[in-house]
Subunit: 353 residues, 2 copies
């Protein structure tokens, strides 16, 4: 197949966050694709709200956003108290860390920023701003590298199924799983992308479809329960997803619905690829059992588009993430390389590099 | 556990269709649970529209509705031409049969009504009305019997997961899979019911939750992709679903998302029960490959609650049903008895009774 000439091969149409040098401008992902609106965060409280309320979501994007949030926090703390600002900053770091529980990239970014704050002598803001920009650009570079690595695993004439949104909106830019899909499509290997709509937040319908349409990559949405039937039709050869945290043994936490795709993929001989930077790997957690799984409000299921759909009196079970055991994962693609059939020894070797 | 005294053990709070003696009154299921509204059908054209537009849905309910539709059609045809009405009626029977393609109960009911029309001497309307009422009441009786049979398969302290709506609204009354759940709950065997919201039409969120709340049976909705993770938590021991058509080899067509539950159930050692009257069994179809699967408009996925959510340019893959192979089915519960580990020989024996 040929790739349309009109495709922007850089796939850099959109950024979830832009540091203006003074404030952090976030694209409000809750309103996409109907409305393109931005929220300007001039202080860390606004950043915390934005992460918790899912103005910005996606593990790598949360990490990058939090890093810029530390710059805003340090600026306020340093202005208020040029001597004791580091101690005061700790409260902000804790509040940022608590905004969402599952994505480890959040605390990874905060640890990196804390180290810069600790080492800073005199006015710390230039060093912190440089560090945040570096976290951001490293994430984009990691995604582009993972895109190339993951694409080599995909044979020509392939259909892929993805879940949630793992693109520019979920990261510093370009995307993790969607980055691999972009790279593989540009290389002529992917014929068609299927995307779960991804209830309850509809990240697939609202965000992934929007990104792919902008790139000129053909995409078909499907109901989240339809993936196994799609595999049975022979329409997909790879499931490609991101992750919010990967345990030391290779277990993968990701958006609810991922695990059932992994089970169905194994049943049908479809391969299962996880794409995530090493900032997503948490070697301090032995296995998926140790990963905290966020549960969100029942209203996300009882209401649709802000309108109540379920009868009063009905409850809901609304875990936001699930854990796919390493045994169901064919490949974890990171910026340091690809781990096939992941286990603890292979993950340790990857992270020791 | 104890069953609340307030539970109506008859579970007969609602009927999807009521024959008034003159018209067919249908509960408009598209508007539930927010609005309880009825559509009165005085002629067959309105019945055809109601089936196609999903005012009424659920395979057994479609069959019962179509039977009453034949009464309306025959009345008009007989009034217009007391001699040639039978030939004219054939056009109505064909139009009714074409309203939805997958549910075999539709053509089963039409065949029964056609036979009555063929045998009628003189004024046929009393005989046809009697036959339609009989189809309706037989369906309710079958459901109550299946409820008792299915409940005996379920051990005490069980959690069950169901999909779509298979209750009073989907049948003549009481329900198929939801009938088993009602019976097992009344017998103290079920602790909790989990219900897939069932995109794109949200029959689980809108209809199943509504029915169960009315019955005082605790219900938790979940996203369609979350079922496998629920099983992994050990929260469910049976998946209980209905069917729109069962092939001669025991393959089961049902609402999209059923097949992935069957795959996940097998993976987790969770058992899988299909509850359907024998009017759902189509011995003329060898296997699931021969069952026509309805595909509905992409807009059902691209829009939510009438509002566009996916970017312009995105497509959708929207099969309404899928097929679960007999090998993944632990039990098919019919009014004639239970078939475990179904295959062609067992289905033939069941239908030969």
């Amino acid at each position: 197949m040929t790739v349309p000439n009109s495709v922007d091969r850089d796939f850099d149409n959109v950024r979830a966050m832009v540091w203006t040098g003074d404030t952090l401008r976030l694209l409000d992902q809750r309103r996409l694709p109907a409305v393109t609106a931005f929220i300007d965060c001039a202080e860390v409280g606004a950043v915390i709200d934005a992460i918790r309320d899912m103005v910005v979501r996606g593990a790598p994007a949360i990490g990058v956003t939090a890093a810029y949030g530390v710059v805003l926090a340090a600026r306020a703390r340093y202005r208020a108290d040029p001597v004791g600002w580091r101690e005061a900053l700790e409260a902000d770091l804790r509040a940022l860390a608590a905004a969402r529980p599952t994505a480890i990239n959040l605390s990874w970014a905060l640890d990196r920023m804390r180290a810069v704050a600790t080492q800073a002598t005199g006015e710390p803001l230039v060093a912190l701003e440089t560090a945040a920009r570096q976290i951001h650009e490293e994430d984009v570079a990691a995604n582009r590298h993972m895109g190339r690595l993951g694409a080599t695993l995909i044979d020509s004439g392939t259909g892929v199924l993805t879940h949630c949104n793992t693109g520019s909106l979920a990261t510093g830019g370009f995307g993790t799983a969607l980055g691999v899909i972009r790279s593989a499509y540009a290389a002529g290997r992917i014929d068609h992308v299927f995307a779960d709509e991804t209830r309850p937040w509809l990240q697939g319908a609202r965000l992934t479809a929007w990104e792919l349409v902008q790139d000129g990559i053909p995409v078909s949405l499907l109901a989240d329960g339809a993936g196994a039937w799609l595999m049975r039709q022979g329409k997909v050869h790879w499931v490609v997803v991101g992750s919010d945290r990967i345990a030391a043994n290779g277990d993968v936490a990701n958006k609810i619905g991922t695990y059932h795709l992994a089970v169905a993929a194994r049943h049908h001989g479809v391969r299962f690829m996880v794409v995530a930077p090493t900032s997503t790997v948490d070697m301090a957690v032995e296995s998926g059992r140790g990963i905290p799984i966020e549960t969100r409000a029942a209203s996300e299921l009882l209401e649709v588009g802000g309108r109540r759909v379920a009868a009063q009196g009905a409850g809901a079970w609304n875990p936001v993430f699930d854990v796919t055991p390493a045994a169901l994962v064919d490949a974890i693609v990171t910026e340091r390389g690809v781990v096939t059939q992941p286990d603890r020894a292979k993950m340790e070797a990857l992270m020791a590099d």
